[in-house]
Amino acid sequence: MRNAVVTDAAAAIAGLRDGHTVMVGGFGGAGMPPAIVRAVADLGVRNLTLVSNNAGASGDDLSLWFRQGLVRKIICSYPRNAKDFGAQYRAGAVELELVPQGTLVERIRAGGAGIGGFLSPVGVGTLFAAGKQSISVGGRDYLLELPLRADFAFVKGREADTLGNVTYNKAARNHCAVMATAADTVAVEVDRIVEPGALDPESIVTPCIFVDRVFVGVTA
């Protein structure tokens, strides 16, 4: 029987290499997988392209990646109030692709759902239209937005079963659920792993078909 369980965060990120594109779930701290974020920092890969809603606040989060210079480019909606990213950004050491949050999540969903692009009403008539194809449908203008995929997606769940089915906790579901559909390898840090059948099949948010690795994050 399928077994998605791995021992720890180091095993969950195995195969991550310089130059990879990585999605990290979370809105603020909710949904960010802390043990994975530390493991990536420990691994010290470089030239990552990071897809994330935020850029780390301070301390034990994505700030670590910027402090250590692991990230070449970030695709992000709100990288403000992020001291370490800000320093790297001002120094010209990291590239920023600023994406409206709803467009960011929809681009990731498109990447996971095999959609080649979508027409968004968001950004028309603003700086966010720069470089994008404009398509008019039914007399309204839209921007053609393209899908996002990653080599790895790292998200935080509440419970997983050994097959890899995942639930989330409250508002920590946020970007995690779509990111878990849009990467070649999906690793989920959870609080608890249970046997198949222990999760309510009506309440599973990320079915195991999307998930490659699950492990229990040890909380300090």
Binding site: A30, Q101, G102, V122, K170, R173
Partner: protein, 228 residues
């Protein structure tokens, strides 16, 4: 005569939200409106990070950092609330399911153009857009809440925005520290004025022509709105 403070302005906006409506309160000043929505109004608050029917802040010591608002502050969930992922949260916004979104702004034009995102051009910080742009495009009614003028006295209600736009022709109503202004097809229309302020005074610190509505309410210092 003094402009409304943040609290009084939040009270003013909160009193005007339609009964049983679905409302998103933008980050920053609009967040405080939640404290002034009458419980009997039945307003249901949406948060872009995946909450519907958001409740008030928890008691000290009961914070749950997986249960936060779009401002990343701990909140609670009211009975009948729901959790969902960001793609559904933004489908609600972009799909026209939010009745009213109240947003902060730097500038609003007479046509309802909105400039409210942090470009970083002023403070040297990285820019940030977040989800305000999705709300601005998608909510059925966009209300803006802001001081009537900038700190340097410059008008924020203007003929043409000079700052980078968030969205064009979206703002329906502007709540400022001095007045309530409707954005109509015929231009800006003052529907309420702070007690002690005349239309001339308001026009003097506004960058676009104003006219008065058929009926103009008066706004008390505490944000209470009274009709003639």
């Amino acid at each position: 005569m003094n402009p409304l403070g943040r609290k009084a302005l939040a009270r003013l906006v909160g009193s005007q939200l339609p009964r049983d409506s679905f409302v998103n309160l933008g980050i920053g000043a609009p967040t405080q409106i939640a404290d002034f929505v009458p419980p009997a109004a039945g307003v249901i608050l949406h948060s872009e990070n995946g909450l519907l029917n958001m409740g008030p802040a928890p008691l000290p010591g009961h914070e749950d950092w997986d249960l936060i608002s779009a401002s990343k502050s701990p909140v609670t969930l009211a009975p009948g609330g729901a959790f969902f992922d960001s793609s559904l949260a933004f489908a609600m916004m972009r799909g026209g399911h939010i009745d009213v979104a109240v947003l902060g702004a730097f500038q609003v034009s007479q046509r309802g153009d909105l400039a409210n995102w942090s470009t970083g051009l002023d403070d040297g910080e990285p820019p940030g857009i977040g989800g305000a742009i999705d709300l601005a495009v998608g909510a059925r009614s966009i209300w803006v809440m802001m001081d009537h003028v900038a700190r340097d006295g410059a008008a924020r209600v203007v003929a043409e925005c000079t700052l980078p736009l968030t969205a064009t022709r979206v703002v329906k109503r502007i709540f400022t520290s001095l007045a309530v202004i409707e954005v109509t097809a015929e231009g800006l229309e003052v529907s309420a004025l702070l007690d002690g302020i005349g239309l001339d005074q308001l026009q003097a610190c506004t960058g676009a022509p104003l006219r008065t509505a058929a009926r103009v309410g008066s706004i008390a210092a505490d944000g209470g709105l009274h009709w003639p």
